[in-house]
Symmetry: C2
Subunit: 184 residues, 2 copies
DNA sequence: ACGCACATGTAATCAGTTACATGATTCT
DNA sequence: AGAATCATGTAACTGATTACATGTGCGT
């Protein structure tokens, strides 16, 4: 009867690294992020927060309010930071999950550990694989493909190419700016 | 006790437009497409197929095999084509769902209806909105954003830009190649 | 010998959304 | 007046995955 996935709980936990906030705040933050990390409902957020609390990964401070329901400000604990560090370290060996990748980007390079370039390279590999999968698919389409099919594959290919280009550029940029990459 | 979502059933139905095939085949096809349309499991595929059959949107031909379980080849019916046509017509008024968009691309321009440019324009709008949402988020990040946060937003922005560029190019190309757009 | 591709199907379980309850305050 | 924002929470439901049952043939 665990609430939510490990992945989801760590997403929420990841948001709390930057600053303490309420469940309501996490939702707003995620929406403000343009859905880059998804747009979960309260029915997912609150239970996840309760689970984190139960596991001692966060603490609550109840800020009462005269009229509205009291705000519950959640703060990540040392155990929580440790758990996140572990999650970031062991997690996506070859991530095809865009959101998990973005979350990892946000956490690495910040207070967790400077593995930014490592994650970018991993993503590079995953996208390259995806790209060649699509090329393969395009080739196998062979027999009288419809306009729609062609355009769809093209579309996927274009996005993958753009991702690869960006990743390459960013990696080059980072290697110039801070050649001292590696874990503290 | 309906099996699967309308969206998912239509995905499967959409694959059958091009050629008749078994449940096993649909799964392979989707994987070959590099996960562009997702990688559903048999536990989702078979029930969806049964539901389509019950609704008369597909027919089955059981091809027995001496040793292995018989293959069940599903073929879309006229009613199925009609249902798909309707789904494509009414569906995502402003799709933020990449997969649904790709499925629409595949269906339009083929045997369904030539609404390709309309769908591309709709997508263009959705991506533009997403892009400006991210720019807003970047601005609001304000206070001492971490390297990771910056990179994550940049990444989202880069992909959105690439999508917009591709969409613009493709629309220009289509308007030259076939100015006679519009539904038959 | 062992696993993988072929091929279908069901049951248990999970992870999430939707809908509801509660209730004051501010915008239109 | 009516809608939206603030704020938390639970219960019912849905849509999917995972794991299992069943069994042959082929590659290494």
């Amino acid at each position: 009867m665990v609430k939510g996935s490990v992945r989801f709980r760590n997403f929420i936990l990841g948001l709390l690294v930057k600053r303490s906030m309420s469940g309501y705040d996490t939702r707003r933050l995620l929406r403000n992020l343009g859905g880059l990390l998804g747009t979960p409902s309260f029915g997912a957020i609150y239970p996840a927060l309760h689970a984190l609390l139960e596991d001692g990964l966060v603490t609550v401070e109840v800020v009462p309010h005269p009229t509205r329901p009291p705000r519950k400000i959640y703060t990540i604990t040392d155990a929580g930071k440790q758990a996140l560090r572990e999650w970031v370290a062991q997690s996506p060996p070859s991530s095809t999950d865009l959101r998990a990748f973005i979350m990892h980007l946000m956490l690495t390079g910040d207070s967790i550990c400077d593995r930014l370039t490592a994650h970018l390279r991993q993503r590079q590999e995953a996208v390259a694989t995806h790209h060649s999968d699509l090329e393969q698919a395009a080739r196998e389409l062979g027999e009288q493909p419809s306009l729609g099919e062609l355009v769809a594959i093209e579309y996927g290919l274009a996005i993958a190419s753009a991702e690869m280009a960006w990743l390459e550029g960013k990696l080059a940029q980072l290697s110039v700016e801070q050649p001292d990459a590696g874990c503290r």
